[in-house]
Symmetry: D2
Subunit: 488 residues, 4 copies
């Protein structure tokens, strides 16, 4: 079910995978998407092409549900392909008009597109195009890009592509499969990176994370630089800069919780970064009275072990994640609401009882999980509960491709540290500093010009937030106002 | 799975239903589509709208599968809606890019479109639009119309709509749900009619057949005239002519087998027309030696009873249709191929044995069913088998919305009457004459200017067949050449 | 979901098919069950066996749903098999404990059983067995028979089988697949017959109806006589009488509506019998003022054409059955309840309007369908509506394998003819006489000792109704009391 | 698909949950089974009862699939219930005849039964019962127990139950829901324990693990002692000894890998025991040259952290488990077989590269996983790979309810330590000693008479292995013969 009234673009987070010149490419793209499943569970899709034709299949559901049989994948013929897994945000619509990749046709040219990110001037660009007769079927910026290309004035496809990209602001990655070849594009800040790998001779893959390269057995050859696109066709692979105004500012949420721990971004392994965050957090905020350190499976295990090593306390399995969670139709009554969290996580009472516990979490967004966990630890008769968060306070909406746009959702935008500690019922509460975060992600070598985007923590947006600006200004909480004042 | 290379438009047959100003309109549209299910079983979809938003759900499958729960239909809010059931042709693609209705957005206007028919200059129009920057996502002429509207030069939506329709040739019905109201459009020949009904005060429905009006309890008020559209909005209902070049030529296949027997087209009830065809056939081709008349359930029952009455022979249930046919995964070996037809139809041996049987069928397309039936009747020890077909020989491709485009598929385009009789193993074979067909559909009163399109029988196309012309000319069979020469 | 408290046996109606010595027998049994699908839609199952092993698959659903892939049928190996389709009655339980066939094991002997019918002393026999230590898992009389066999005192399996059958009263057919061979059993009255056919040399099939023999290409060789079983094994086929107290009394509902029209019972083709009933009804109750005769598709078409021929009136397609009925989730409000019948049947208004109509139905059970049809005909402006029922009034519960056990369900057990006519709103109402019914089913030749069971019409039960007796006596309606008095 | 030829009983491992006197008990049992899902994923079922009736639903699939809607669970009425999740072994049959719980009826008594374990004289007992006329429908020992009860000679149900239990050898837990109350039974060795908890006044639950008590909010009150059953009815809860020959010998696989880490058995928390095993292993087999310790998620995390702490090396996340594993239809070619393991586990190359790695696993059964992991670590350029297994070598079949019956499956039954190390390609390989295992599970207090069953390690079976004896004796490997000789 879809609707079409909106005033801004939509955030489209997910994962993308492309392959060039691989026989029966659809199975390879399938495996690549499988490795990226954690980046989006709402829909999945693959487009492939051979000399003559383009083939598509995309639907709501996990990769393994959309492609659940040989019959579902074998019609996707050809040697080139792109695929996507996608996560529908609350701001998004739940039905199928926005399922990617998209396939378009114009002037005898087939073009298939995948998009991740958040184009901050999407609505404005769209309105301008509509005045020229353009017709839209979705809210996706994938469709927007194609219209911009078709209405550009260049002589070649690439000139038109570059003209189109010049108009777009925000955070974005595009993958385009065209008759000219495969194009993989990163924005001027490289908020979210794309990784290029090689299989055999003249066989390339591009993916949102290196873990997908590993799974398909490709060797990593490069990350696409900010403001560049990579063009792959029968003549080989080429890095094309399309903007001079580049400044790499990786989205730190990738390191904090979004990317898989075995992936590497800007030369920094994600698990390593997380462990560093735990170590750094331990330095900044030790818990002298504590007996043990526990993490929240599976997301904060890296940080928790780092914390435990640094403070030299035993790291214990105080919380167990249920292996078979799934959905349940049982609607919790007030009394059963407890059960909902308990279905996912169980406290190992024998470990907790009588202990002073440090519980390390990766971040606090809405604050609901940590609230329940403190309660469960108290019930298991923990002597003390010290919360340590291996990320800074997330106090401002994210407009760069992470689905956190409303201040209402952000616990730390509404409460100060002391109040949070009180609300959670913890004995102490501490967050990693932004400096600590930056030190935990030590870009170096080829990537020494890399930096992190800190706007979610300090409200200082490095890239035009376009159509979101007025809403941002109007909805500032008292805490946000204070932070912004401090920063100036 | 879809592909995008094609040189001509696609035939899009199906059924459409629209409703204006009805509370919780989605359930009403659902019931309307249910009544039209026989017109298309490949996909189903509904678009609805309220003051602010437009809602859509469409998928592959029967109406009852696409809308299989309250949850599937209740999100389709609002008082106005259009829906469609659709049949994918062999020339069509089996995946979901062409599933209707479509929903588009331009210049702050939402527009939803359904289409039935065959636009014979679709590919040409599309190529022209692409040169202006238009981007297409499907092969459907529903999308084509919207692009034509958006690129028209009029001052109002209706001026643009009329400019767009003026460019289109072929057979078509469109339904458009827009902020200006509901538009239901018939081509200049009214090959396939649209029927308008009324529910309560200011509540209207439009459907491909009157049987859908009956099911939802609407009273018939008019058929949309050739070259007109009906516009329904808060100011009421209005008939708007958009072409002066009109000549009603109803597609006779609607009477012969496509429409439901309880529907009425141009004032003629379909069952009555079929019974007339049987009577007329009996007059033209009696079977003096016959003992009994049988039909092939369920399609030729009307014609068979007409034949039996006219020749005053008992009408018998010589063939029984299995109530539960469904699909089977068992792939017939050569020996089991017989089983395939026998799963659907059974001979009542006690009726057939020793009798001289007239078997009446509604038409012959590929000739496979009648071949098996003669064999089954012989096995049941029929003394004689006389085939009587209650339609003329279908000898030419249909370019006006019935899915019969290739001469290869048409048995009567490849064999003459004598050879067919020999091939089938029947004692005699006769078809209704085209004159007999015309007499069986006695348009009168308000509809006395109505006529039938006879091009499938005589190759004399009354409407431009556009992009199909060269293929038609190149693939003529010997028999087709003879017929065409006779006609000139 | 099942429960286990009951005081009487359960009626188990359905269809059975068995095959002996056919390679890959499971596909053959599948086809046989497919032909019998009309006899039961609740569950389906197949058991097969080879030299060493027995294989089973059974589940809720149609044949084509339970066996929906090669994978679902290919594990059923072997050359011998039995299968069943089953209809759960209201008195039955909707879950899977009663799904047939059953497979049992005792004393190194595998035994698989299917059952149709109603054992009228089931509860009593079961209680006796339980006292001997028997444990039951279902309510089915298939399980009951196996326990009786196991607790019998004979020396051989057949002695034990005969001892067991001697204890059972009521209407029953059993099929047993054992290491001794295939056994197909009919009760002493042969209420429901079993038909034996032959495929190749030493290849046999047994089915509930001859239409299943036809579909698999078997030639009919015999009907199992009352009080006999047929034993098929490597030594051939053998008719074994197990009771001297036999009197064939075919259940007339088989002819009236249950069996397929192309089947033959006791040498009488079912369609022929139905047409005879229509002819006979026309003789007994003509409708002098009528213009046309219509039937209710598809059940009363045979009778209606017979009626029309006898009164020499045109037989018209006044009611059309919707091809795609299916289930709908839309719960009818009071206003929409009409819609429910209209979804299945549509009136062809052009035929009905202004006409005096005879509508022929096959029988009246609850009276709800005919009530709606009269209303629909009135709305279509029929001048007169004359109901003619091609069966006698069903006034007494059926304890012999047809699912009509409660007098509350039987319209004719509660109202006299005049009141029914008034309630239905018809201009006249007539039923076939029981004499007329008997004459319509002219058993002859080998079957001249066959007769019909008339207890549903006159309350005169020819076979012990056992555990149902007290409930029957206590719940007699005034009309039933009058009939019973008249009969004595 | 089932077959019925077998010579021994079947191993039936799984998890059970029962509840007494809880309103709408089915939801509670559902939650309990959910917590036990890791114990069996083949089928799930629930039986409930109220005063009058018994209700059942069971099917193949996970708990959340079998009970996937309110409609699937709400018909299970009543206050008392038992449920089971079950794992089909290779020795078992994959179809639905063995799905538990079972529901039986005899002598007006309803009895529902769940069983876990392995009755080592099942086939013998069954043959004896069959000679008395008993008929079986499944291979389950749940059905066997009910037949034994029905053929016992006691005066009361409990006398009969005790007489039945006296005949059974092997490892077993039963739960019976009867009109006398709820019975939960443990065998004479308590190989697998049952845990009793309390909710409100007179509300009891029994579960295979304490984690299920925790999830439903019940407080632990006792473990059922060896050779006892607990009887719960309206008069309260009662421990009944039924054998004097008791000797508690907990199955160590529960501690090693089967039970959830938050469960407690015999007073010993499972995670604690696992961590102890890691510590003990580190003492017995340190790896002096190692840089880091890694575990295999999720099964060996507890042991690995224990090992790391003891040797004071960093515990690292060297292997990552994919969050979305699911099934894939892609059949691996030889080249893609690698992919299969990689889909589940990924190496974090940045951690492994250049390091000497200790990889801790919980146990070695077939040896396939560790083989692939060593290969993956080598590819990631580990300097050294030292395998440490936190359990003794599993060298003998398990006949006590763990699904490891064939010596062919046991890697350590075929190879000695040195050969295994060579085969795996590791730099060193060590297993925990049996003494080390025993010390890691420090039963104390109320449980100081508890011990572990070590037969899987040393072949010294403490309980009659009945029908399995001859197969065991005949199939001894050379290594097994040596071990057995050493032990005597």
């Amino acid at each position: 079910m879809s609707s079409m009234t909106r005033k801004t673009g939509i955030n489209e987070s997910g994962g993308m995978f492309a392959a060039w010149n691989y026989p029966e490419v659809s199975s390879l793209v399938y495996m690549g998407l499988h490795a990226l499943q954690h980046r989006g569970q709402t829909s999945a899709g693959i487009v492939t092409s051979d000399e003559e034709e383009t083939y598509i299949r995309h639907d709501l559901g996990l990769v393994q549900h959309v492609f659940d049989s040989k019959e579902s994948i074998s019609p996707l013929k050809g040697k080139h392909g792109i695929g996507q897994v996608r996560s529908a945000s609350e701001h998004d619509y739940k039905e199928n008009t926005n399922i990617q990749p998209f396939m378009f046709k114009f002037q005898n040219r087939n073009i298939s597109v995948s998009f991740n990110g958040n184009v901050t001037n999407a609505y404005t660009l769209r309105s301008e195009l509509e005045k020229l007769g353009a017709v839209f079927q979705s809210d996706s910026s994938a469709e927007l890009l194609v219209h911009l290309i078709c209405h550009a004035n260049g002589d070649t496809f690439e000139e038109n592509l570059q003209e189109a990209l010049a108009k777009i602001t925000g955070a974005y990655n595009f993958m385009l499969l065209t008759t000219e070849g495969l194009f993989a594009i990163s924005d001027e800040h490289n908020f979210h990176t794309l990784e290029v790998g090689k299989l055999g001779e003249d066989q390339y893959v591009v993916a949102s994370e290196t873990c997908a390269l590993d799974l398909v057995g490709a060797s990593f050859i490069q990350e696409i630089p900010a403001g560049h696109y990579v063009k792959i066709n029968d003549e080989g692979i080429q890095n094309v800069p399309y903007s001079k105004n580049v400044e790499t500012k990786i989205e730190p949420m990738e390191f904090i919780y979004f990317a898989r721990p075995d992936s590497t971004i800007g030369g920094v392994n994600v698990h390593h970064a997380r462990k560093n965050m735990g170590v750094q957090l331990a330095k900044e905020a030790p818990a002298p009275s504590a007996d043990i350190v526990i993490g929240i499976p599976n997301s904060s295990l890296s940080a928790a072990t780092g914390y435990a090593e640094e403070v030299d306390l035993p790291y214990e399995l105080g919380l167990v994640k249920h292996q078979y969670i799934g959905r349940t139709f049982i609607e919790p009554t007030q009394a059963q609401r407890e059960v909902k969290v308990r279905r996912k996580l169980a406290v190992v009472k024998e470990i907790i009882k009588g202990k002073s516990v440090v519980v390390v979490d990766d971040s606090i967004v809405r604050g609901t999980t940590i609230l329940h966990i403190v309660k469960m630890l108290r019930e298991a008769e923990a002597k003390e509960v010290h919360i340590r968060i291996a990320a800074p306070m997330i106090r401002f909406p994210n407009y760069y491709g992470i689905d956190l746009k409303s201040s209402d959702e952000l616990y730390a935008a509404r409460y100060d540290l002391e109040t949070m500690n009180e609300n959670f019922g913890s004995d102490s509460l501490a967050f990693l500093s932004t400096d600590g975060l930056v030190q935990s992600v030590p870009f170096s070598g080829d990537y020494s010009d890399y930096d992190l985007s800190l706007s979610s923590f300090n409200g200082d947006y490095i890239e035009d937030i376009g159509e979101y600006k007025s809403s941002f200004d109007q909805k500032l909480t008292d805490i946000q106002k204070i932070i912004l004042k401090e920063n100036n």
